[in-house]
Each structure stands twice: as C-alpha cells, then as structure tokens.
C-alpha cells in the first residue's frame, strides 16, 4: 500500500530565509504532484514531476524528484509572506491508475 509522508507538518519561517519541504513515499512511482492550498480555498496545482531527476521551478519555489530514493523536495528560496499556505505532495499509485495518494500537508507561515 502506497503511503506518502511529508515533513515538516508545520513550518514557521522568517521572510528572506530558505527552507525545504520533504515528501517521501513508500512504493515505486515516477509521478508526483505538488499542490498549494490557501486558507478556505481549494487546491491549486503547482508542479507535475514525471521522471527521475525532474526539476521544476516557479518563482521562489523549486521542486525535484528522485524516484530511486522515493523522495521529492520543495525548496523555498528567500521566502515572502505571499508564500504562506498549505503545501501538499501527491503520488500516483501505479497499481491503481486513477488514484493519487496525498501527504498530510505542510502548513507554511512566513513571518515578516
């Protein structure tokens, strides 16, 4: 059974600092997704990572995927207040083609 673990679950950081959110998963998959959720809002797709070594960047966020280690990272560079949100990773369950398994989410608070 595929399990997805994110850490940390809560991250409070100062503006201008760098940090990384980690997403580990338990069984083979080469497709991983990062979503952002603002308070009271729905999930917005951030990144789609489809192969080992994939790296995607958008503004101050960069995501990468290592399928051998079953690990994805979401790196935040020089955080700003607008990045405050909850970030989820989700992994394709290769045994069930339609199924995404989500991590618990990381609540990010950027303090000015």
């Amino acid at each position: 059974e595929l399990k997805v673990e994110q850490n940390p679950l809560f991250l409070s950081m100062q503006e201008g600092k760098n940090y990384t959110i980690y997403c580990n998963y338990s069984t083979t998959s080469d497709r991983l997704y990062w979503y952002r959720q603002d308070p009271g809002k729905s999930l917005e797709s951030l990144f789609v990572l489809l192969s080992n070594g994939a790296v995607k960047q958008e503004g101050r966020l960069m995501a990468s995927l290592d399928t051998k280690a079953r690990l994805s990272t979401l790196h935040i560079t020089a955080a700003v207040h607008d990045l405050s949100a909850t970030y989820f990773c989700a992994v394709d369950d290769m045994e069930y083609g339609n199924k995404l398994v989500f991590g618990a989410g990381t609540i990010l608070r950027v303090k000015s």
Binding site: V4, Q6, L9, R31, Y33, Y35, K41, S42, L43, E44, S45, V48, L50, F88, A90, D92, G97, N98, K99, L100, F102, G103, A104, G105
Partner: protein
Amino acid sequence: DVKVTQSSRYLVKRTGEKVFLECVQDMDHENMFWYRQDPGLGLRLIYFSYDVKMKEKGDIPEGYSVSREKKERFSLILESASTNQTSMYLCASRPEGASYNEQFFGPGTRLTVL
C-alpha cells in the same frame, strides 16, 4: 480553464439526515473524484468514477455513496449523516487518456454535522 464547481461552500446538517453534495465540471472530463480533507490527514479518497454510471471505492467509502448519471456531474451522498463526517469535501476531475494524473479541484464544501 478547467472549472470544477461544488453546490455549497458551507453546509450544516443534523445527525441522521440524508446529505447530497454536488459537483459539476465543464471540461468533459471522464474521471471524477470525491475526497475528504481533515487536519493532519491530508486528502483521502472516498469514491471515484471513470465514466457515467461507473464508480469505484476509494480508501474510505464507508458511510458514503455516489451517483454519476451525467458525465459532468458527480454526487456524493451521505445516507445518514454522523458527526464523524464533519469535514471538508473536495471534488476533482481529470481527463481520460492524459499521460499523468494531474487533478483539478473544486472549491470544497465544508460540512458540519450536529
């Protein structure tokens, strides 16, 4: 842009009531999903549907049923609501034949069962 809409943003029901949550997508997607979101647990799949009148159980189907009579509409039904079904419910869709499983989410319905 894909648009997924849900019938209510907030809903308050009493224990034992029958509850219908509606989801509509406007992009002709074959696949539709219902999740519930609880703090610290992420999103958990309740049911999904890959075609009209077709449905598959997800990880936590107990206490729920679904209906898909039209391609664009996927309904989640709580036959007899209980307090442990108080949660945020999210609907999502994605097209068939896509090479990956990026799903598009609706705004969510926050259900409180008293």
